[in-house]
């Protein structure tokens, strides 16, 4: 165990304090002692504990399955340099950098993260990170509502369903109305009849179906009615090659940077980003790091604009957020430094290439076709000859996670599968998938 106290030390300390026993000092007041028996397993020694948890990890067979799953969590290559530096104790076991003199390492790293996010999104200002892409979207809605004083937002149905569900949870409590914008047959947001008089129009690109959506078109419509345009980016790697949210007319860009060196990790922790044009700096939620000088003229970094934050403003804070995702933002920063512009563009290029090869291979299996005739990054929807949920289960039995059956979120899309390829997708993976798809559907296709 991790406590050092010897019986002699405890005795000596109790004497200084002036109480006869540890129980006398630390017991709760009479009447609050625990009633009943606690349901906590007896302690394991360290070697047993390791084996115990290791067994649980080994039980997760799908960690080893060939996977074509994306949908907001992306399998990418993690250069070993990334955890090597990011998990140094000096970063891992440090505290929030409230004392600038004690935290220049963390503060500079956050400043670099903020800078990377601005360069990637084209925006003027980024915060120090938020919990994930979905909560980043919530924060952007709060910003837009405060900026326009309108309590409604319009969200495309092509925005990640889990992002939309989280938004719905918060908006219910904050009494903000969420209007849904439909999707066209080609997988893009239907901009005709976009609601006027909303605080923000929210589109994702590449969207949940993998399609590169018409952000510029949405921005034009939004701005005409005085609304802000929020672009969601779930696959951050796409920022390496696609036009920036700023260029496309977005006022706020939000999303998740999990693709930059964070494992899929059964859902977390990830790292959300919020970036905006300079008009919105005072509405930015959470921490911001700024550059300044110290009393000796040395360049220094420090948390700033804390007047917006909960520990000062309390109930008038721009958001309640306290902890951010500092270590995850650091992992992403080390990743971006390690791969550089050159590496990031190449990795994005391989994603483009592999996704197209995968799409072509699937398209050659009888009965299968791409569902949308739109440009995509590394994900796309496949129209399946049988119900996608059953097909996915059949492939699962063969050790292949073929993709996400869309009916789970879009009940009208029973024969649709969301498929992703990354730089980790090999030709053998593709061949294995297509062979399995062929075998599992031969009977159905033949019968047609």
């Amino acid at each position: 165990m991790y406590t050092p106290h010897t019986p002699d030390e405890i005795r000596a300390m109790l004497q200084v304090i002036g109480v006869p026993s540890l129980e006398a000092l630390s017991d709760p007041p009479k009447g609050l002692a625990i009633r009943g028996k606690l349901d906590v397993a007896p302690a394991l020694v360290e070697s047993e504990a390791y084996a115990h948890v290791r067994a649980m990890a080994d039980e997760n067979t799908h960690a080893r399955s060939i996977s074509f799953l994306g949908a907001g969590a992306y399998r990418h290559y993690q250069p070993p340099a990334v955890p090597w530096f990011a998990f140094r104790s000096e970063f891992l076991t440090s505290y929030t950098p409230y004392q600038a003199e004690a935290s220049q390492g963390s503060l500079q790293a956050i400043f670099e993260w903020q800078s990377y996010i601005c360069l990637l999104t084209g925006m003027d200002v980024s915060n120090a990170s938020v919990y994930d892409g979905a909560t980043a979207l919530v924060e952007s809605v709060v910003m837009a509502v405060n900026a326009t004083e309108r309590k409604r937002v319009a969200v495309s149905r092509a925005v990640h369903p889990l992002y939309r569900r989280v938004l719905a949870t918060y908006c219910e409590g904050m009494e903000i109305e969420v209007l849904e914008v439909p999707v066209r047959a080609d997988g893009l947001t239907d901009l005709s009849g976009l609601h006027a008089d909303v605080a923000a129009v929210i589109v994702q690109s590449p969207n949940f179906f993998g399609c590169i959506d018409d952000v510029a078109g949405a921005a034009a419509v939004a701005h005409k009615s005085g609304a802000l345009l929020v672009q969601v980016v779930a696959e951050a790697l796409s920022l390496a090659v696609l036009k920036t949210p700023r260029e496309l007319g977005a006022d706020i860009a939000v999303g998740d940077a999990q693709s930059f060196g964070l494992p899929v990790g059964y859902g977390g922790p990830y790292v959300g980003f919020v970036a905006a044009t300079k008009e919105h700096v005072r509405r930015m939620p959470g921490r911001l790091v700024g550059e300044t000088h110290d009393v000796d003229g040395r360049r220094a970094y420090v948390l700033t604009l804390q007047g917006r934050e909960q520990h000062i403003r309390r109930e008038l804070a721009s958001s309640n957020i306290c902890t951010n995702q500092a270590l995850c933002a650091l992992i992403a920063t080390v990743y971006l430094a390690t791969v550089g512009s050159k590496g990031l563009r190449a990795i994005a290029g391989v994603n483009l290439k592999n996704a197209r090869e995968l799409a072509a291979a699937i398209g050659r299996v009888p009965g299968f076709a791409l569902a949308h005739d739109s440009a995509f990054f590394n994900e796309f929807v496949v129209r399946t000859p049988v119900v996608a949920e059953e097909l996915a289960r059949a492939l699962e039995r063969r050790g292949i996670l073929a993709g996400l059956p869309l009916a789970r979120f879009y009940p009208d899309m029973e024969r649709a599968l969301l498929v992703c390829a990354t730089e980790l997708t090999t030709p053998a993976d593709v061949a294995g998938l297509t062979a399995a798809l062929l075998e599992e559907t031969a009977h159905a296709v033949a019968a047609v």
Binding site: Q306, G307, I312, R313
Partner: protein
């Protein structure tokens, strides 16, 4: 602490107000700027905004604290100090002069009776020490 100018009135929320006919100039006192520390941002009412006596009309933000500014008198905000918006430090260096914040067109001159004179305000700050 500088001597309190006697050509104006004060509130217990540490605002000063100098009335000239139908127009009043408002700022925060030396005590206020000193307590807040280095001011980094001032949020003021938009010109044309209706103001109500004793209700918050803006915010002064320093590195470590935020403080509401209350309207010392009811009326309409007609001008805000653009120099202060640009360089909030002026409020620290010259709170009674160049650091003025808002000019208000009075709607009810009788409200001036409820304001404190320099001596009364001095008692307020003495009690806080």
């Amino acid at each position: 602490m500088a001597n309190l100018p006697t050509d104006r009135a004060y509130t217990k929320e540490h605002e000063w107000i100098k009335v000239e006919g139908k127009l009043a100039t408002v700022g925060i006192t030396d005590y206020a700027q000193s307590s807040l520390g280095d001011i980094v941002y001032v949020e003021m009412p938009k010109p044309g905004a209706a103001l109500e006596q004793s209700k918050p009309m803006g915010v002064v933000e320093s590195v470590k604290a935020v403080s509401d500014i209350y309207a010392p008198i009811s009326g309409k905000a007609v001008e805000v100090n653009g120099d202060v918006e640009n360089d909030p430090a002026i409020v620290n260096t010259d709170p009674y002069g160049a650091g003025w914040l808002v000019k208000i067109e009075l709607s009810n001159a009788a409200e001036a009776k409820s304001l404190l004179d320099a001596a009364a305000y001095q008692l307020v700050i003495d009690a806080l020490k």
